[in-house]
Amino acid sequence: MMQPFTRVHGTAAPLPEENVDTDIIYPARFLLITARDGLGAYAFHDRRFQADGAEVGDFVLNREPWRNATVLVAGANFGSGSSREHAVWCLLGRGIRCVIAPSFGEIFQSNCFRNGVLPITLPATQVEALSRAAGEGRTFDVDLEAETVTVDGLAPVAFTVPAERKLALLNGWDETATLLNTQADAIAAFEGRHHATQPWLFIDHP
């Protein structure tokens, strides 16, 4: 179900602002939408549009060459705040497959991995350099297999991703399916032990 991530090539939009929370990425009022697809239109909605619906001309995703960026180079604590997974779905809907930042909101980061969006954590100085390069409109090449970001005219930047996450992204594995396929016995065995110690937790089969 998850779109595999192997390599992404394209422009990168710089958003060098700290604490861009999930409400900025996906404003709360759109949470009433129950679909996962088609949310790209709402990504950064209130940054991209004025109240009357007109585009905000100087917001990076409204400008060329970043309008169709596939990478976002963000500030620290990107995706903090609410747990809404819509924040990742709307980025995906806009074609953004990779976010590079000095740090991420924890739940957002895990939501990224589960949806085929690669969150890359790098030291602030490296992110700043990449952000400048993004601002110059250079082309980014993110290679998950090799764990490198290569930008035209710059030395490749190495990053690391937990091995498990990497494998899942490369193969497009769905976490639920993986657990059902590999852990069913372990789960059943645990449930037996757990029921013996804390039977009162099993309100469904007393």
Partner: protein, 413 residues
């Protein structure tokens, strides 16, 4: 001899199903609170994958995010909200998940109904698609917010892949003076460590002030933990916890109750247990706190000053100014000397003095308005007969004469 363990260690260790390659573990999840905003996609994923729920009756669903706060039972005016609630009702019916009906007496905010129903229990793991799920740690439950995709995994497997957090003990020294509530302690803690200070940590609150605190206070402390960046807040269960839980609908009964309490008493952190970090906070010296900005660490004691944005704790002046503008606050404004003269002092009607005015009028509200938390203002012994608890008491505030203050909506977390 066994190493001394923290409360978090005990909760974690007792739920490990398997160690996974790469350092993650598969953690068993006992409880899952389901609400209308974060669950539709999880149910959709079950359908798409042709999957059943592993233990449908172990979950508890309630509509609380997209519903009107006033009336119940009629038609929801907003068509999207109406459709979202209808979708939840269809999903719980299709999958057999227990549901607290919108027009029923037990409906309420997800983090309030868990405790009220006795669904939130010590020694359990509890998740919900809402970052304020840390709230339930007040009962000594390992509780944290998750995304919708993770909700789908819990529904299908009753498990989640997780990585162990570091542990942070917040040692509250002394007892709070009059007018200092749990919310003030939370704001002071966040102010001390910063809005990201507890990131990566499971936070355990300890000390005589916590022991003396009602469940309402403990819920407030744990609720606000996420505002310090921590996904998990914890208080060791004790007699206060047990007294709150006994007799609740889903709490253990009879012999089970006695066994449960005996087990719950073993959860307390062992003497000498090691934490990755310890923060102490002298609550005896605390004054009531008020917020002057838009980030939870932007708070000050009423005896202090609203800062000058330029040198404020390394934050960008622009971000502080944004907060000032939003709160109609004056930089470097001295806040009132004490809550009692709040209204009459200060060079301008700053947000701080207005907040203080509210506190004086309604001291039970227990905190500034920016930190959005349900008002567990008092422990109500048996809340069953009341309507939905109101998460918000700002309807008559700010005073109508003041046009400068924008309305502060409850931000979905």
């Amino acid at each position: 001899m066994r190493e001394p363990q923290t409360l978090y260690d005990k909760l974690w260790n007792s739920h490990v199903v398997a160690e996974l390659p790469g350092g993650d573990v598969l953690l068993y999840i006992d409880r899952h609170l389901v609400h209308e905003v974060s669950s539709p996609q999880a149910f959709a994923a079950l359908r798409e994958g042709g999957r059943a729920m592993r233990r449908p009756r172990a979950h508890l669903a309630v509509a609380d995010h997209a519903v009107p706060t006033g009336t119940r039972g009629g038609v929801i005016a907003d068509p999207l909200a109406r459709a979202q609630v209808a979708e939840l009702e269809q999903n719980v019916a299709d999958f057999g998940v227990p549901y607290l009906a919108l027009d029923g007496e037990d409906q309420g905010i997800v983090h309030v109904v868990g405790p009220e129903q006795g669904y939130t229990l010590p020694a359990s793991t509890l998740v919900c698609g809402d970052s304020h799920t840390s709230t339930h740690g007040a009962f000594g439950a390992l509780a944290f917010g998750i995304g919708s995709g993770e909700s789908g995994t819990v529904m299908a497997t009753q498990c989640l892949k997780q990585r162990r957090s570091k542990t942070l003990r917040v040692e509250l020294v002394g007892l709070p003076g009059p007018h200092v509530s749990a919310k003030d302690i939370a704001l002071a803690f966040i102010h001390q460590v910063g809005a990201l200070g507890a990131r990566g940590y499971a936070v355990e609150y300890t000390g005589p002030a916590v022991e003396a605190m009602s469940m309402a206070g403990r819920l407030t402390l744990c609720n606000m933990t996420i505002e310090a960046g921590g996904r998990v807040g914890l208080v060791a269960p004790d007699d206060v916890t047990f007294a709150y839980l006994q007799g609740r609908r889903l709490a253990p009964k009879g012999e089970d109750w006695d066994r449960a309490v005996a087990y719950w008493r073993t959860l307390r952190s062992d003497p000498g247990a090691a934490y990755d970090r310890v923060v102490t906070l002298d609550v005896a010296a605390l004054s009531p706190h008020v917020s002057w900005g838009t980030s939870p660490d932007e708070a000050a004691p009423v005896t202090g000053h609203v800062p000058d944005p330029a040198p404020y704790r390394g934050k960008r002046p622009a971000s502080c100014r944004k907060g000032f503008a939003y709160m109609a606050c004056v930089p470097a404004c001295p806040s009132p000397k004490s809550p009692s003269n709040a209204c009459s002092s200060g060079p301008a009607p700053t947000a701080v003095s207005r907040i203080c005015a509210r506190r004086r009028l309604s001291p039970r509200a227990g905190g500034g308005p920016r930190a959005c938390a349900p008002s567990w203002s008092q422990d109500r012994p048996r809340p069953r007969s009341r309507r939905k608890p109101k998460g918000w008491t700002l309807s008559s505030w700010p005073p109508a004469s003041n046009g400068a203050m924008p309305a502060v909506p409850c931000v979905w977390r």
